[in-house]
């Protein structure tokens, strides 16, 4: 049986209850710091780090269920933990962030030894600018969840991102604690412990695990996953249809200006310096001339489709489908469908799923004699 506690809240006071809960965690020394989405003084919601030594009251502005992810938090988790600070930090992240973080841990770009990883139920996120409209309209996380569970995420002219609509992971795994809110009644949230680390932290905070997540909640999540998978598979079909030739790909990437924003936004693009900004791609003038000679014309900047394909070959095995690439593009190139569809195939081929498990070795890091015999041919 899952071990949980029920956190009841009055209408409009979800964040207050959560703030109290995490303040208590810090006060009781269950954690030394908290990284969580918090409302910003001007506008918007951003991941914010609060330590025991800083202004704990700041936690009052916590809003983990806000339907926005300005930056995939895996990158933030990586910057905080790659070199250990030796301070216990709780991080509130959602599924796409956690799955990316799992990959970064395997790539030794993050270290969860000192982290209490907290996942939240997530129905989806709005694009950053749409979220501002959402806030202006006076909508809240509570109202979003209520409507979202019923399938109503559309708000005037905007909706949750395309990536979220086909995301089959509304409830994250591989966490120490989980904040479950999908179909748990409009006045309650359940905090579920999934690891020894989680148990210990709650014990230290003096919190008894005396409840369990209601069955209705799990059933609704299962139902949601099923719907999402259907939508996903339909989308894959569509995407495959629309990008199944080199010409189609060129068309999709046509507006690319090599700004590399998609790479910066991608949580699993972890290189310090991308190969596309190294000498390898710094060509001489005569090289450009030679290309123009042989192709007839040369569209500049060159290497755009090549860049996307290279990036795809580098990260498709780790792609978690968070859709940040699409969100980051200044020219509205919808990259997510291509990457997600390809990732689905490449990961399948290795029987791998990015973010599924910490102990699942990444493909290509282990040598397997009998891998892809049908491709390599019968070497024997």
């Amino acid at each position: 049986m899952s071990k949980s506690i029920k956190l009841s809240f009055k209408k409009g006071e979800l964040n207050k209850e959560l703030a109290d809960f995490f303040k208590k965690m810090i006060e009781k020394n269950a954690i030394d710091a908290l990284l969580a989405p918090m409302t910003q003084p001007n506008k918007g919601v951003m991941q914010t780090l609060v330590t025991k030594n800083s202004n704990i009251k700041a936690i009052d502005s916590i809003d983990p269920f806000a339907p926005v992810v300005p930056v995939n938090g895996a990158k933030i988790a990586s910057s905080i933990t790659a070199k250990p600070s030796n301070r216990k930090v709780a991080m509130i992240l959602r599924s796409c962030e956690i799955r990316a973080l799992v990959e970064l841990v395997k790539l030794k770009q993050a270290n969860l030894d000192d982290v209490l990883l907290i996942g939240i139920d997530c129905i989806g996120r709005y694009e950053n600018l749409d979220f501002l409209k959402f806030q202006e309209q006076g909508e809240t996380s509570e109202s979003f969840i209520e409507k979202g569970v019923a399938g109503n995420t559309q708000n005037n002219d905007y909706d949750i991102s395309k990536a979220c609509k086909i995301c089959e992971f509304p409830r994250p795994d591989n966490v120490d604690l989980r904040l479950c809110i999908i179909d748990t009644g409009s006045d309650a949230l359940y905090i579920e412990s999934l690891s020894l680390k989680g148990d210990k932290a709650l014990e230290k905070a003096g919190i008894d695990l005396n409840d369990s997540v209601p069955a209705s909640s799990s059933n609704t999540v299962k139902k949601l996953i099923k719907e999402r998978i259907n939508a996903r598979d339909k989308a894959f079909e569509e995407y495959r249809e629309s990008s199944n030739s080199f010409d189609d790909l060129e068309k999709r990437f046509a507006a690319c200006i090599n700004c590399y924003n998609c790479r910066v936004a991608c949580p699993v693009c972890y290189c310090k310096e991308c190969v596309f900004v190294t000498d390898t791609f710094r060509h001489n003038g005569d090289q450009y001339m030679a290309w123009a000679d042989s192709f007839g014309t040369l569209k500049m900047p060159a290497d755009t489709t090549f860049y996307h394909l290279t990036r795809m070959s580098h990260m498709s095995l780790f792609c978690v489908g968070c859709g940040q690439c699409t969100s980051a593009c200044p020219n509205d190139i919808d990259l997510m469908p291509v990457f997600r569809t390809v990732a689905n195939k490449t990961q399948d081929r290795f029987d791998y799923q990015a973010g599924r498990a910490f102990d699942e070795a990444q493909p290509l890091t282990i040598f397997d004699h009998d891998e892809f015999v049908e491709v390599t041919g019968q070497v024997k």
Partner: protein, 1039 residues
């Protein structure tokens, strides 16, 4: 000026696997090797084998040197061998030997090939015109060849010769030969040479189905073949056909080329036959047959039925048992314990076998499409000749006599043997013995006043990197083919000259003859270019001499590229109507342009010096450890010998007085101890253990902890040998410990020696074999420690030894040996035969039907199934003896972590490659010897110890070594330390240094395989000379 010292030279006769390995080892140290083979090719039996278990791939190239690899061509070993210090003399025989150790004058007879292989271009026009055909020996008569032929179809360069026995001297070949390479009147030559030592490695052969009367009767049709012939049937260069069958091939049965779908193997054909005076087990055939049965399925599909009829499945070697289990359980290879009495031919050509299945106690008849006779090893007739040549007598078994403890050293100083000349060996023993023989020869040479060939270190100016690349292109148009070629060289030259960074383009006629060479020298000396691209024929043969030539003219070796242009010219000549219109000039242009791009971006590569600490750490003071320490110390290498107990000798050296082979381990141990203690180059650390090791080849640093003084010290060393031994296996099975009448074989042996056990009045003794051995545990490793998935190798022979001793003292006693498979491989078979002759009763049991033991009236009572009577038998015995075997040393797991070397499921260390690199770890600079490797006899442990010391010596014999120019580098500014390269590196050449937060590359271990570059996303890992920029530019140009 002092007189120039003679270069140390060794003759190796026999270019099979052990001879080649011995040659490579000596060449590695810098000695000159003359490698002869009586056949016209090299490679021995293995040239015919495409696959070896356990990988079921070929892997022969793995015996090539890992350090100093640029001195030997990294090339398929089954095609050829190229090493600067090895002179290969095929078709050559040693005919006369005079002199003594360190100074042998020899005569070699080089048989006429009738084709000058230096002149021959290998294109084989002569083969086409030759009118004489004959069954091809290489493919066991399955295919045909001409009188002029290439003995190994894939040898490079193509070593043709003429079979004078069938040649009619019609002269057709002479007329058509474009290079005048054929002389039908050539004569055998006698070569006189001086060598310092001789290694004999002339091997054995596998006999064919017609050789012996007892085997011949089985060969009732063409579809009954020998195991070696079957290798050719499943080989692409034999008759295996995998084209046009939807990626699935067919195994053609020889009589009518129809697919063979049901194949049987019959074991022990011609061997284990006392009546025919072949009272030995060929040792290799069980694994050979298992491998072939698995391969048959892999080659022709899972539906192919494979059945092996055997007497004992002798899976005694390391990991053999696991391979067998896999063959049976995963590949469905059927094993039936039955000595098949004959094969009958059905009218429809299928083959009929009648057999008795002991599982059901019934007779069956089955038809098969093909039958493979497992024909084993037979000693060549030339043993007698060798004995005559060196003036000694063969042993009663017909073998070459060696020193008591040593399988490779003859009583004749300076002459050593290896490979199957020692007896019946498999590949890994052949390789180990080749290394060991080289070690012995090098020991001798180190005492003589001879020189070694120095590694040529080229100190080249580093200035070129700052200069703009300017390329000189030299193309040989091969005057001989020029008239017919469809490549327009003038056009080619014109186009190439327009390219940026091409300084000059020169077309020459024939670079291979003296005129051409002179022309080339003149051109190069005038050249102002800093990079050189040469297109010629047979770059493999000419590469070395041309590179030297260009280097003399001032070019840097890594900036000289030589490529095969002749193949393209040749292809263009062959164009006929059936081929589409190809613009050959454009084809050539694109290929050359791509190479120019590559050369343009190529960095100059320099070899890096690596200082070597000439000290070896030997871990384990048993006989293997002491032996290696002494061998190294005698070659002037410093040794730290680490032993965790308070005395040297290990188990054998302290407890085993006598062995069945007549060895006396205790007295040998004592002898070694004295030598080790007295040797000035050896420091002994008793009660000590290694607790930490860091570093790479040449520069390791290990922490040694003294368990008594509780103090640690650090030792610097250049290499390490792990000889940590093994343990006696313990058991809880069969009521052991509940009765003083139940003993292990060891306890019995000691009891007999000390006379504490009295068997004078005993009536019945039962022995149970495989107690705890060869049972693959289903639980986690370590939890079910008594189950071991391997054969302990020594127990069957040990049991028979004890049984024979008891019989000697008490002839009336009844001894029952309950066994699963009797593992008396090789000449141990004679003891098995003797035991049966003396009335010792052998009863087979299976894992499903283990004997049961209870204690009644203070006597063990054993119940088991007797298969001849087919009934349950109970025997009350005076003693029950359990063969408990050998267990791996429990500390191996810990040591594996400390040294960063792997251990297998059974707790033994895992060598780099079980066949080809049995003595070394994948981690460069670490070697292993003795029972830390797997259970083995003392002689084998000593052989490994000798080999391990040779390997360590070869690494450390120079104070400075030079690592290869082509190795991987880390661009630290780009590296994010994700360590994927560390995980994937198959050579353990990369480590992550936490304190530096950097990836460190071990330059000596890196083999430039490129895996690190593959997993690295942003080129922080790069193989020097293969940058993305180069490769992409090349591809760009070639498209």
């Amino acid at each position: 000026m002092a007189e120039k010292k003679q270069t140390g030279t060794v003759l190796v006769t026999g270019a099979g696997i052990s001879g080649i390995k011995a040659s490579l080892e000596l060449a590695d140290i810098g000695y000159k090797v003359l490698l002869t083979d009586s056949s016209p090719q090299i490679g021995g039996i293995l040239a015919k084998l495409d696959h070896q278990f356990p990988t079921d791939h070929c892997g022969m190239c793995r015996i090539l040197p890992m350090i100093g690899r640029e001195y030997a061509s990294q090339y398929c070993m089954r095609k050829g061998l190229f090493h600067e210090n090895i002179e290969i003399l095929p078709f050559t025989k040693l005919v006369k030997v005079e002199g003594d150790a360190g100074n042998y004058k020899i005569q070699l007879q080089k048989k006429a090939r009738y084709i000058d292989t230096d002149k021959c271009n290998g294109l084989g026009k002569c083969i086409k015109v030759c009118p004489i055909e004959k069954h091809d020996e290489f493919n066991h008569g399955l295919t045909k060849r001409k009188a002029v032929y290439q003995p190994v179809p894939y040898s490079t360069p193509e070593m043709l010769l003429i079979d004078m026995d069938i040649c009619t001297k019609c002269d057709e070949c002479v007329k058509i030969c474009p290079t005048n390479a054929i002389n039908l009147n050539a004569e055998h030559e006698i070569l006189e040479k001086e060598v310092h030592a001789i290694i004999l490695a002339s091997g054995v052969k596998l006999y064919n189905t017609k050789e012996f009367e007892d085997v011949k009767s089985y060969a009732v049709s063409k579809d009954v073949v020998s195991s070696l012939a079957f290798e050719r049937i499943i080989s692409g260069t034999g008759t295996y056909d995998n084209t046009n069958y939807n990626n699935k091939g067919i195994i053609k049965r020889p009589s009518d080329n129809k697919p063979a779908e049901k194949i049987a193997w019959i074991q022990c054909m011609g061997s284990r036959n006392k009546r025919q005076k072949r009272d030995y087990c060929s040792s290799i055939c069980c694994m050979f047959a298992l491998k072939e049965a698995v391969l048959a399925k892999e080659k022709a599909g899972k539906n192919v039925e494979t059945t092996i009829f055997y007497m004992d499945m002798r899976t005694f070697g390391k990991d053999f048992y696991r391979y067998k289990e896999k063959a049976v359980n995963e590949h469905n290879v059927k094993l039936i314990r039955c000595r098949v009495q004959g094969v009958m031919l059905n009218p429809d050509k299928s083959l009929l076998i009648r057999y008795f299945d002991p599982k059901t106690n019934e007779f069956f008849t089955e038809t098969y499409d093909m039958v493979v006779l497992s024909t084993g090893q037979i000693f060549k007739q030339d043993y007698e000749q060798i004995a005559k040549l060196f003036n000694f007598k063969l042993t009663s078994q017909g073998l070459i006599p060696t020193k008591e403890y040593n399988k490779i050293e003859l009583n004749k100083p300076g002459v050593f043997i290896c490979g199957s000349l020692m007896g019946l060996t498999d590949i890994s023993e052949a390789v180990s013995s080749g290394i060991a023989a080289a070690g012995k020869a090098s020991s001798l040479l180190s005492t003589l006043d001879v020189a070694v060939i120095e590694q040529k270190v080229i100190s080249e100016p580093k200035t070129v990197e700052r200069d703009l690349p300017l390329i000189s292109v030299v193309l040989c148009k091969c005057s001989e083919k020029e008239s017919k070629t469809n490549i327009d060289f003038n056009m080619l030259k014109k186009k190439l000259q327009t390219l940026n960074q091409v300084g000059e383009v020169n077309i020459i006629d024939t670079a291979c003859n003296d005129n051409g060479k002179q022309e080339l020298i003149n051109l190069l000396e005038k050249s102002k270019c800093n990079r050189l691209l040469m297109g010629l024929c047979q770059p493999f043969i000419y590469r070395k001499s041309l590179k030297n030539l260009a280097k003399k003219a001032g070019f840097i070796s890594s900036l000289i590229e030589i490529f095969d242009l002749a193949s393209l010219i040749y292809k263009s000549v062959q164009t006929d109507e059936t081929m589409p219109d190809i613009n050959w000039t454009k084809q050539a242009l694109n290929e050359i342009k791509a190479r120019i791009e590559n050369l343009k971006f190529k960095p100059a590569l320099y070899v890096e010096p690596l200082e070597i600490n000439q000290t070896v750490l030997v871990v384990g003071g048993g006989i293997a450890g002491m032996y290696s320490a002494l061998a190294l110390a005698n070659k002037n290498i410093n040794v730290h010998l680490i032993e965790k107990s308070d005395k040297l000798g290990g188990y054998a050296g302290n407890h085993i007085e006598n062995t069945i082979e007549g060895l006396k381990p205790v007295s040998m141990g004592k002898d070694l101890q004295i030598k080790v203690f007295e040797h000035k180059n050896i420091i002994i650390h008793l009660n000590c253990e290694v607790t930490e090791t860091k570093g790479s080849l040449g520069n390791f640093k290990s922490r040694i902890t003294d368990n008594i003084k509780e103090k640690s010290t650090y030792l610097n060393h250049g290499a390490a040998i792990l000889a940590t031994g093994a343990l006696k296996s313990e058991t809880q099975e069969y009521e052991y410990k509940n009765s003083d009448k139940i003993l292990t074989q060891n306890e019995l042996k000691q009891g007999l020696e000390t006379k504490e056990i009295n068997i004078e009045n005993a009536e019945n003794i039962v022995m149970i074999q495989c107690v705890g051995s060869r049972e693959i545990s289903s639980g986690e490793i370590g939890k079910e420690k008594e189950k071991q998935g391997y054969c302990s190798r020594i127990c069957c022979i040990g049991a028979i030894e004890n049984a024979l001793k008891i019989k000697e003292k008490n002839p009336d006693i009844r001894i029952f040996i309950l066994y699963r498979d009797i593992m008396t491989y090789g000449f141990f078979e004679q003891y098995y035969t003797k035991a049966r002759a003396q009335g010792i009763i052998f009863v087979n049991y299976t894992l499903n039907n283990k004997p049961e033991v209870e204690i009644i009236d203070d006597k063990p009572v054993v119940a088991f199934k007797e298969h001849v009577l087919n009934s349950q038998v109970k025997i009350s015995c005076d003693f029950l003896i359990l063969s408990t075997g050998i267990a791996s040393e429990t500390s191996n797991k810990q040591l594996g972590k400390i040294f960063n070397v792997p251990i297998n499921e059974d707790g033994f260390f895992v060598e780099a490659d079980s066949k080809w690199r049995p003595i070394e770890f994948q981690k460069t600079g670490f070697f292993l010897a003795g029972t830390a490797h797997s259970p083995m006899f003392l002689k084998d442990a000593i052989l490994q110890a000798e080999a391990a010391s040779q390997k360590a010596h070869a690494c450390l014999c120079n104070e400075t070594i030079y690592t290869a120019g082509t190795i991987s580098k880390v661009h630290h500014s780009l590296c994010v330390q994700c360590q994927r390269c560390v995980d994937i590196c198959p050579y353990n050449a990369r480590t992550y240094d936490e304190s530096l937060n950097k990836i460190i590359v071990d330059n000596a271990a890196c083999q430039a395989c490129g895996m690190c570059a593959v997993v690295c996303q942003n080129n922080a890992s790069e193989i020097m000379g293969f940058s993305d920029k180069q490769i992409m530019a090349m591809i760009d140009m070639a498209l």
